[in-house]
């Protein structure tokens, strides 16, 4: 039974897609199906069950989920507030320095994100770089480390480039003349922004929000390193299930709950960005 409508002989480009198809199936589809399988079966006897998913209802787990959502939302909003003006400024700069500035923002991404988070720990510690600097200036020291604020800082720093890039891409694509047209028709700067620039940048905004919110929702490394493991996030709970309790079923069940959020975000992106051009990095 042939799966392709056209045999490779008649449609040679179908053959070219084979490595990608294998990759998709082997590394994306199959693992996903495995997570669903583990999530819906009991560890003891493999019978179908909702118990793993219901684990989310335990008070600590709900609290962890709620905290994760809260911190991720705050981080996402902060990223948006920082990234939007930055993207606007980037957009308005002349071409030559443009790619240089973009490079500066992308450059941190070249280094392992874990190392960057640990670097922040070094900076924020009680006897860390920041406080040493403040003491040198005879200023009072800051005690940010091991608080939720430090976690938010870590998330914002880690994920800010993911907000800047899609925003910048979409803004850059707005034709200068469209903005001129709005001004020409009588709109002042505020009106031009609210009615023209912002609506046209919406696909980038949605894309950026997704690319920040989803990963920060599932993080557990940042809360351990910068939060002193004092804050239990949903990512920590899932990690515990897998690592410490060796319970792949409960871990998968909780992961399925998180997947709901991912799916919602993907649906939003699909709705607002039909052309898919805000998700390209360059």
């Amino acid at each position: 039974m042939s799966k392709n409508a056209k045999s490779p002989a008649k449609n040679p480009s179908a053959l070219l897609a084979t490595p990608y198809t294998i990759w998709m199936i082997g590394f994306i589809v199959i693992p996903l199906l495995m997570v669903v399988y583990y999530g819906m079966t009991a560890k003891s006897d493999g019978a179908f069950t909702f118990e793993n998913i219901k684990l989310i209802a335990q008070p600590e787990n709900l609290r962890a989920l709620w905290l994760s959502i809260l911190l991720s939302l705050i981080s996402t909003i902060i990223c948006l507030v920082i990234a939007y003006p930055l993207a606007m400024i980037l957009r308005n700069m002349k071409f030559k320095s443009n790619s240089f500035i973009v490079m500066i923002f992308i450059l941190p991404m070249w280094m392992n994100s874990l190392l960057r988070t640990i670097a922040w720990q070094n900076i924020l510690e009680r006897k860390g770089v920041l406080n040493a600097f403040l003491t040198f200036l005879n200023l009072p020291t800051l005690n940010i480390i091991n608080t939720p604020a430090a976690i938010v800082l870590g998330m914002v720093y880690d994920f800010l480039p993911f907000m800047i890039l899609p925003l910048y891409n979409t803004l850059a694509k707005i034709d200068e003349n469209v903005i001129n047209a709005a001004r020409d028709l009588g709109a002042n700067s505020r009106q031009t922004f609210m009615k023209i620039i912002f609506p046209l940048s919406l696909p980038g905004v949605i894309s950026g929000i997704t690319m920040v919110f989803v990963p920060s929702l599932t993080t557990f490394a940042i809360s351990n390193i910068l939060g002193g493991s004092k804050v239990l996030l949903i990512g920590n709970v899932i990690e515990q299930q897998f690592q410490k309790l060796n319970n792949w079923n409960s871990g998968s069940g909780l992961s399925l709950v998180l997947m709901v959020f991912v799916l919602i975000s993907m649906a939003l992106v699909a709705k607002y960005d039909k052309g898919g051009d805000s998700t390209s990095v360059w």
Binding site: N177, R183, G186, L202
Partner: protein, 358 residues
């Protein structure tokens, strides 16, 4: 009726870095006038338009509108509207919302706006397109919506930046007539930018030919065409033969060794001049009947006329005629004195810079 001065550009200069785009430009535009700024790419015509519109500020000089100095006024406070080169429609809004944009800013009533939308769409022959999205329209339709969006605000002046550039020939010609009709119906001033001289000749009351930031000539289409002031204008508008010659005395010029009677005076005696003859003004006759003799070197049928090249006394003349002379035949060249245009040779360096290479 073309009446008083509406817009006045006084000593306007604009520079980008080391480049002077516009140098000491002085120009006035009258009410109800269709003025075309014509010139090759980079000549400064679009910059001039943008300065009038307020999208650029001049480094020196003033812009006067209706007697008031609007040089420092931002675009949204000027009583003119612009039709941009690639339409610049708001792709996230419907056609109706696009057209209504300026009116909503002015806080007009809903009823007023709806009436205006209907009126505008009717004016550009796109009734019923209110709820369509710009992406679903063809280039020509988008252009008309862009025009509708601009005129619905009843501006005193409409600025158009090469609006027909992206359309195919037939559509372009149709739109040209549409624009003329609109101008007559609405009675507003049009300032039109293009590099297409045919478009300029078709639609304008007045043409301003520009290059490298300087005005070369301002005049009616007939003036520009029949009596170009210098070689650049002559070369840019229509096709022409531009030959070096010598003005023997008033009404007589020597071209390539042959004397031609002409009608121009005041150029002095035995002065070197540039001579302009339009291809359609050259008659090919029997060799002995012509003032100069030559041989036909090429013949192309162009539908409207035959285009021939005739080599005579070292110069290849371009000839347009409805009669053909076959390649290789010996012919005589005859030109009505009235059709010979004499121009001064360029004196200053600047002028020399704009002379086309022979």
């Amino acid at each position: 009726m073309i009446e008083n001065k509406l817009i006045d550009l006084i000593h306007v200069t604009k520079r980008y870095g080391n480049n002077t785009i516009i140098d000491d430009l002085n120009l006035y535009i009258r009410e109800n006038e269709f003025l075309t700024l014509l010139g090759p790419s980079g000549c400064g015509k679009t910059t001039t338009l943008r300065i009038i519109g307020g999208f650029e500020s001049p480094d020196e000089g003033q812009v006067i509108f209706g007697g008031k100095d609007i040089t420092k006024l931002p675009p949204n406070e000027r009583q003119l509207n612009t039709v941009f080169q690639k339409y610049a429609l708001f792709t996230h809004m419907t056609i109706a919302e696009n057209i209504a944009f300026g009116l909503k800013i002015k806080k007009k009533s809903k009823q007023y706006i709806n009436d205006k939308i209907k009126y505008a769409l009717k004016l550009v022959n796109l009734d019923g397109y209110e709820n369509r999205m710009p992406d679903s329209l063809s280039g020509g339709q988008q252009q008309r919506i862009a025009i509708a969006r601009a005129i619905v605000n009843e501006p005193k002046v409409l600025l158009l930046d090469e609006p027909l550039g992206a359309l195919d020939l037939k559509l372009r010609q149709d739109m040209q007539y549409e624009l003329i009709r609109l101008k007559n119906e609405l009675g507003i001033t049009f300032v039109y930018v293009t590099h297409d001289q045919e478009e300029a000749l078709t639609m304008s009351d007045t043409i301003m030919v520009m290059t490298q930031g300087y005005i070369q000539q301002i005049g009616t289409p007939e003036d520009i065409y029949n009596e170009p002031k210098n070689a650049f204008v002559a070369d840019f508008i229509g096709e022409s033969n531009i030959i070096s010659g010598t003005m023997i005395e008033d009404k007589l010029v020597n071209i390539l060794g042959c004397n031609f009677p002409c009608v121009d005076v005041g150029f002095g005696k035995n002065k070197p001049v540039d001579v302009v003859i339009r291809p359609e003004d050259i008659d090919l006759v029997k060799p002995e009947e012509g003032l100069m003799q030559g041989r036909v070197t090429s013949l192309i049928f162009k539908g409207v006329h035959y285009e021939m090249e005739v080599m005579a006394n070292g110069y290849e003349f371009l000839v347009h005629s409805t009669d053909l002379s076959p390649v290789g035949s010996e012919v005589g060249i005859k030109v009505d004195p009235f059709d010979i245009q004499i121009m001064n040779k360029p004196e200053s360096e600047d002028e020399e810079a704009v002379m086309p290479l022979e």
